[in-house]
Symmetry: C2
Subunit: 364 residues, 2 copies
Amino acid sequence: MIRLAPIPAGLPATVPFVGPETLERQAGRPFAARLGANENGFGPSPRAVAAMQAAAGEVWKYGDPTSHDLTHALAAHHRVRPENIILGEGIDGLLGLLVRLTVAPGDVVVTSEGAYPTFNFHVAGFGGVLDKVPYRDNAEDPRALLDRARDAGARLVYLANPDNPMGSWHNGAVIEAMLDRLPENALLVLDEAYAEFAPAGAIPAIAADDPRVIRMRTFSKAYGMAGARVGYAIGHPDLIAAFDRVRNHFGMNRVSQIGALAALQDRDWLAHVVARVDAARRRIASIGAESRLTALPSATNFVALDTHRDGAFARRLVDALAAERVFVRMPGVAPLDRCIRVSCGPDPELDILAQALPHALSRL
Amino acid sequence: MIRLAPIPAGLPATVPFVGPETLERQAGRPFAARLGANENGFGPSPRAVAAMQAAAGEVWKYGDPTSHDLTHALAAHHRVRPENIILGEGIDGLLGLLVRLTVAPGDVVVTSEGAYPTFNFHVAGFGGVLDKVPYRDNAEDPRALLDRARDAGARLVYLANPDNPMGSWHNGAVIEAMLDRLPENALLVLDEAYAEFAPAGAIPAIAADDPRVIRMRTFSKAYGMAGARVGYAIGHPDLIAAFDRVRNHFGMNRVSQIGALAALQDRDWLAHVVARVDAARRRIASIGAESRLTALPSATNFVALDTHRDGAFARRLVDALAAERVFVRMPGVAPLDRCIRVSCGPDPELDILAQALPHALSRL
């Protein structure tokens, strides 16, 4: 009865992620510890909150479709030109637009088996063909990605650095070297959602005008504004300008733009959050160790805890933790799925995790 | 150097609308009366503002990707099922998704010459072929739209009721009759962004499960929340479910969802706004009449003022008003573009318009 165009007609009805609110409704009670979506429970800058509260009454105005003030502030922050930056409704939204701009039906896109599902969702959604290589030592494998990209004639190569869901990272020099080996027609999609948490040296030095790569950044993680939907891409001005051909020009929330600008300017809060995330990573590792789960090294605001079992076991553990009112997630494919993924959060939530984890394990 | 997929490679670099902030930066000073984007200067419900302010600190959480609470409240409000409703980042965002879901490259989409440019932007953006019929008596012409849809084998037929940019409207019975004449493979896209301002009888009685039509609604106009980016579509559950195949699942701002729910529940504020918009329409007509501009009847929160001249004259008038720090817009094509389009706003802004209009005209 309902007729869809050929590409969407062939898409599955499944969605990349179930939100915690849906799980809460199914369980009939809220989570006590929300540690599953790599949100930042340390919260946004108080200055960002105050700016958004002050702007709430002006929400009758559309946001500036050019996001001028935020774009210029980001350009200054990254020492690039405003023409190198495009704002969007989170990295998720920008990834969708990027795929739409660059991938024709049938084009090959290379990523890692177990890497960001929402990127895969967009590739499939525009008729692209996904080609995946395995992780190597719990990290995305630059050499395998490049080899496959060359063999398959890939249009896009996706790499998250630091990585989600494992928390691993490569040195910036490794990423820089990737560019020199990138096949001529391929574009590197460098997802740097967790960049602010990464150690010195992990973020590559790439000229903003380099046409071989586009970098994705966000206010959802270190800046604690996931619900505000502010992401941005840094890239060659011609590619950045192309987003104007297809994006939802008035799609950026006005209040979010104002909040993100205030958050960007509050460097002290960011440093405070990064320090607390670092402490939380160590505490999650310690909580895991008490139950014989091994924390993988992390350059993000989450920790992958290795259960040393398989995906079925980890799934039961995730469910058992949910029964203890603790929301965590886990990687989607083997062998990564032997781990559970725990987001950093404030101590009261980690206290709940510390209590819940041995209970949950004892019930398996 | 930058390689785009064939469809985006063929798209123009132009954008549908320039925002007032860009004009303000060009002029070097802010507008004194912001009456150009059909925003609602009477503002959102104070309860919505309070709800958003209270929720600002929780913006570190992603929004519920199912928009459960708001969807259910809207379903109750419209006496439909939640399965009939999909939320999105404004009607603009939903129109883009709808075109993506239903229009394959080369498919024909019928609309009116001078109707909503952003819809056309999306149709072109997905490779659809636009086929346009003229307005008739300053209104979109249902018969001409249907005749053209049949002749062209159209996939979508777009109609805004009430109309933008002219403010005209059809009785609901006219829209209902359209459905019975709709070609078999066509879907009616009924843009009801201005529905809350329309007189009794203008909104058709359509079963939510009717597969021939999808209706677009928004919190941007009567609810005064344009900057929050909350729109929704009402339609057949199969079509509504299809949005899940392609939409940005975590794209809905968390604070906006909370604000829109509070706004929906404040029926007194909505009635207050609608009454003030009605008074403002009459005042704009009166201001126009004093300068020999004729207000067209309006079922929206704006008034098209007929200059009785041509598009070049109206363009000069819009620019002259901008020089008087009054932001208005105008239709994009003849013969509609003999008019300027003035959004309803509070009296202080209409006072400025009243003073500026004769000055601006005297300078032409």
